[in-house]
Each structure stands twice: as C-alpha cells, then as structure tokens.
C-alpha cells in the first residue's frame, strides 16, 4: 500500500492482498483482519492491543468516513515506509520509544511531551504557521520489536501509527518499518490537515525515516541549509 485513499480498495482482489500484507506485517490473527476489513489502521492496532475495542474502532472509522464523504473529503493519509539502519534493534527502539525524540528527525512535528508510560501530547506543524495538537496513547509495546499508538478521543487529527524493528539478514542492521494514518477531520481544519504532509506524504515520511537513519548511524543529519551560494 502506498499513499492511498480508502476508495482505491474497491475491488475485492485488492482488498484481499492488502489485508494479507497488513496482517503479515503487524503479526496476524483474525482480530486484526477484522479491523483491517474496515480499512482502518487504528482498528487493526486496537484489535491487536486489546481485542475488545475492534467494534468501536471500526464504527468510529465509518463515522469519520461518513463525515468526510458528506464534506467531500475522503482521503485518509495512509503511508508505509521501510528503511534499513546499520544499528542493532535495541538501540533504535530505545531512541524511538522516547516519543520526545521524534521531532529531532520528524520535521512535521513541533514537539511531543510524554506524560506517562502510556500517554503523550503531540504538536504538529501545519501550513501557514498553524499547528494542530492531540493526545496519543501507546496501544502496544513489545520491547525492541514494536510500538503502536493512536490519538485519543477529541484529537484535532485522528491518527495512528506503528513502528516495527526487525533484524535484517546478514550484517545489514535492522529493518525499521513505519506505518502512519491521518484522518483529516471535517470542518475548517480539514484543508489544513490534508496539507500536513504536503503533496507527497510518502516522500515526507521517507525523508523523516532517512533522517532517523542518519541520526542513528552518523550521529547527525546531513544538511545543506545555510551554506553559501550565488543566489541573491
């Protein structure tokens, strides 16, 4: 699945293969599949973490979709991207697990404040100097392997995501996979939020993961910002 909208999943063939892929990358299980049939990452992650919340997750998704369809926006931003980092999984997991580190390489985030083991507060940069905020809860946390999270009720932007760390073959380090989903809400915020990741969300997430890799491997993020040029 690349950056895609729910409406691209219309044929049953596509749906089946999508479900297969998502199931395998998250870890499998019938509960997860039920969540995924609704096309919602949150549903899948919730299913994975708790089981009992699937129905709620699925319903919520359909409510959002109805609202989006009503105002002409049914484009949840869903992206997945993987990068291989020449470091052991535990080191990468540790850095990521402190969500307050995320803005060092995720340019779309202004700050993350961790309240406790479970809950954190996120502020993202939106276009024109605006920002959007939400609280998020960690849904599942498997040491050195997997972290999933989702925004809580009442978020400016309903969103969810997970990161998975998996040993790469040979001496190649760790494969880090990130999947994120943002559901633009209805109302005036919608247009702003739709632009959170610019025209090409996949590319932006790719850039952010690459910066994570640079930081973890080289200890700094390569840049050319602020260097001289002959442009006046």
């Amino acid at each position: 699945m690349t950056s895609t909208s729910g409406d691209k999943l219309s044929t049953s063939q596509t749906e089946a293969s999508e479900v297969e892929r998502w199931a395998s990358l998250i870890g499998g299980g019938a509960m997860v599949l039920m969540g995924l049939r609704q096309g919602s990452l949150r549903g899948a992650l919730t299913a994975l973490a708790g089981g009992g919340l699937i129905y709620q997750g699925a319903t919520k998704q359909s409510t959002i979709q109805q609202a989006q369809e009503a105002i002409g926006i049914n484009q949840p931003i869903k992206v997945e991207k993987t990068v291989t980092i020449n470091k052991p999984a535990d080191e990468l997991y540790r850095y990521w697990h402190n969500f307050e580190n995320l803005p060092t390489f995720m340019k779309h985030l202004k700050s993350v404040n961790v309240y406790n083991e479970k809950r954190s507060h996120w502020i993202a940069n939106a276009p024109l100097g605006n920002s959007v905020e939400w609280d998020a809860d960690i849904l599942e946390d498997r040491e050195n392997e997997f972290i999933s999270w989702a925004s809580v009720e009442g978020a400016d932007v309903d969103n969810s995501g997970f990161v998975r760390f998996k040993k790469a073959p040979g001496d190649r380090g760790t494969e880090v996979k990130v999947v994120l989903e943002y559901n633009p809400p209805g109302g005036a915020l919608a247009a702003t939020v739709a632009k959170l990741f610019g025209e090409e969300p996949e590319q932006q997430i790719g850039d952010e993961l690459r910066r994570f890799k640079m930081l973890m491997e080289a200890g700094e993020i390569a840049t050319t910002e602020g260097q001289p040029s002959g442009r006046s």
Partner: protein, 389 residues
C-alpha cells in the same frame, strides 16, 4: 569569499558569496589552496546535468588547509594540510563500512530525487547538482566539508599541490577504472578518453599487470601525452576506425577490458553521432552513449567493460545483444575515493607516481570562465586546469 557559480549552460561566473560556516558537528572548513576543473564539470558547464540550479557553486577536486573544525572532529586541527575526496561518505553506513563510499546512504540530504530517478540514494558529491546532495562546490576560497573526521587525508607540507591535488578525484577514478577490469597478466586494456582520468587509468592498468594499453581519443596532444607518460599505443578515431584498429592491434580478439573515461558527452563520428547529438539537444535522451556502444562491440568475448565516465540519465540504442551474446561483464560507478587515497598518496611519496604531468594550465580563480571555455573547446592544448583561489 569568491566562488565559481553556475548561471546557465556555458555560463559560469566568479561571484562574491558568503563564507561557509560549520553547520554540523562533524564539519570542517577548508581554505582551498588548489582546485581543479574535472572533465565531468564540463557536463555541468554544458547544462547536461539535471538539478543544477542557477547560483550553485561548482567544483569537486580540491585540497587546502583546515581553518575550522566542528566539535565532532577530533582527528583534524587548524593548520593541517589536507586533500578531500570528491564524493562525500559518512563512514558509518553499511556501504561506507564496506569501502563503497560513493554509495553512502547518509550524505545526500536530498536523496528523494535520486530515489525517484534511480530507485536508491547514492553519496553526495561536492558541487555536482541537487540530485547529488546540493553541497556547495570547491571552486571557491573556502569550502565546508561534512563528515570531515573520515575520508579526509592529511598530506605532508613538503610536496607541491600539483603532486597531491589529484588524489582528490582524478587518480582514484582512473585507478578504480583499472581495478574494476580485474586485469590478468598478458591482458590488453583499451581506454577511451585521454583526459586526466584516462591517463591515470592507463598508468594504473600497467601497474596492475596489463601487457598492453591502448588509448583512444581525437586530440593529438592528449594522444601524445598518453604515449609519453602512460606508455600507451594510441588510436585517433577521427583518422581510423577505432573498432577495426582495436581488432588489428589485438590479434583479431579485441581488448580484454575496456575503460570508458569519457562519459555522457562522448563524441563519435558519422550518422550515429548526429543522432545522439540531436536527441540530447531535444532532451529525448540525456546521455550520448557513443563510447558505451563502441566498447560493447570492440571488447573481446567474455571481457569486461569498466565505466568511469559519468552518466546521468537515459541512453538509447545500446547494442545489448552484443553484450549478452559475448558474455560481457559491466562494472561501473562513481569512485570510492576514500578506499584508495592513502594507497595513492603512499605511491606518490615513494616516488612511484608523479601525477603533475597532466597540468597544462594554472590560473587564478578569477579566470574560471576563461578556463572552462578553453577546456570545453580544447583550445590552447588544454587538458587540465588548476585554479588558484
């Protein structure tokens, strides 16, 4: 400071720009004492490299003196005399750690352009387009060197710049070109292009055990240099058919290995050359693959093509059937300078290699526009220009 800025096809200017500053902990600032114009800079000059922007400082072959270091650099100090490799490697990624520095994962901050075009990201190169990182180049008074704690080579104070400068780019490129040929005793190696890289490829081929080296070019002064300094037999392709001549000089077999030291602006003869020139001008192909085609047909069965000339995009009318049926091996890439520089420096210090013979012109930085012009037009027997800031 003064810097050579690209302002459009065939238009470079020496402009006043701000001095570079330390941007990252592993940066160093180098005061440049010598910087050369590389043959591949001509591709930029001519407007053939995509994503070069107006105002970009160009140049990637340089040496100088350390004037400032970031807090992450503890093996260099102010006053050190250094040569810097033209490709930028972080030293930490899988590729750098396996001595494939030009494939570095971490030095290109604009990697997404390359990822889209090429499917993967390769290392950045100073002053060589935004696709390859967008770093400010070396034809300037000062330059910021990222990851300065790896790759940068300290050199002794007693040798002149002209003996040391080319381990930045031209010598390792030529050396790697020969190394990729996997030369066996008795082999004949043909080298297309007798600029600095071609000359060093020929010398390296002999060092690695080639029995015969054949040089192909169209400029008499370059062929003369190949004869005199690189001890090559020569073919002027404007006078004879290079393919037939190569066959005759190799007992009808063809050379065991062929090195492309020309790249995307190759010149050919006749209809095919006209076809390439036209398509390139119309932007229907980005590269003129004349040398590639000729090598594929000329090489012996089971031989190797080593491609060091720069290609940037798409090539057309490649005789792939020849390559397939003859079982050719293709090896290529930007050079892994950091892998070779210490070895090459030692050769120079031991008196086994004196690269200064390639320098035909030494000019002040201010004369860069003139230097580009004569180098591109091959006027005034120009083979290699060193600019002095």
């Amino acid at each position: 400071m003064k810097a050579v800025c690209w302002n459009g096809a065939n238009d470079v200017r020496v402009q006043s720009v701000p001095d570079p500053t330390i941007l990252n902990p592993r940066d160093a600032i180098i005061k440049i004492t010598s910087t050369a114009i590389c043959g591949s800079d001509l591709h930029i000059y001519g407007g053939y490299i995509p994503t070069v922007q107006q105002g970009d400082i160009i140049g990637h072959e340089f040496m100088g003196e350390v004037v400032e270091v970031g807090r992450g650099v503890n093996n260099l100090k102010i006053g050190d005399r250094v040569v810097v490799p033209s490709t930028i490697g972080c030293g930490n990624c899988h590729y750098c750690q396996h001595d494939m520095w030009s494939l570095c994962d971490n030095s290109n901050p604009k990697g997404w352009i390359e990822e889209k075009l090429f499917g993967n990201i390769t290392s950045a190169i100073y002053g060589y387009s935004h696709m390859l990182g967008g770093y400010a180049g070396a034809q300037a008074e000062y330059i910021r060197v990222p990851f300065a704690d790896v790759g940068v080579v300290k050199v002794p104070p007693d040798l002149p710049d002209e003996m040391l400068l080319f381990i930045s780019d031209a010598i390792p490129t030529g050396y790697m070109g020969a190394e990729l040929c996997d030369i066996q005793p008795g082999d004949t190696v043909a080298v297309w292009g007798c600029g600095a890289v071609g000359q060093f490829a020929m010398i390296s081929a002999y060092m690695m055990g080639a029995e015969k080296v054949i040089a192909i070019d169209r400029f008499p002064e370059r062929l003369e240099m190949a004869k005199k300094f690189a001890k090559a037999e020569v073919i002027n392709y404007e006078e004879v058919n290079a393919g037939e001549a190569l066959k005759e000089m190799t007992g009808g077999r063809g050379p065991d290995a062929c090195i492309d030291a020309v790249g995307l602006e190759a010149h050919g003869v006749g209809l095919e050359d006209f076809y390439d020139q036209t398509k390139q001008k119309l932007r229907l192909e980005t590269d003129r693959p004349h040398v590639l085609r000729e090598m594929m047909v000329a090489c012996r069965k089971g031989g190797t093509l080593s491609i060091m000339g720069v290609y940037g995009g798409f090539v057309d009318k490649i005789p792939f059937g020849a390559a397939f049926n003859k079982g050719l091996t293709f090896r290529m890439g930007q050079m892994h300078g950091q892998k070779y520089m210490h070895l090459l420096l030692q050769m120079i210090l031991d008196g086994k290699l004196d690269p200064s013979f390639v320098v035909t012109h030494q000019l002040p930085l201010e004369q860069a526009p003139h230097a580009y012009h004569i180098f591109q037009q091959k006027k005034d027997n120009c083979i290699k220009v060193v600019l002095k800031p």
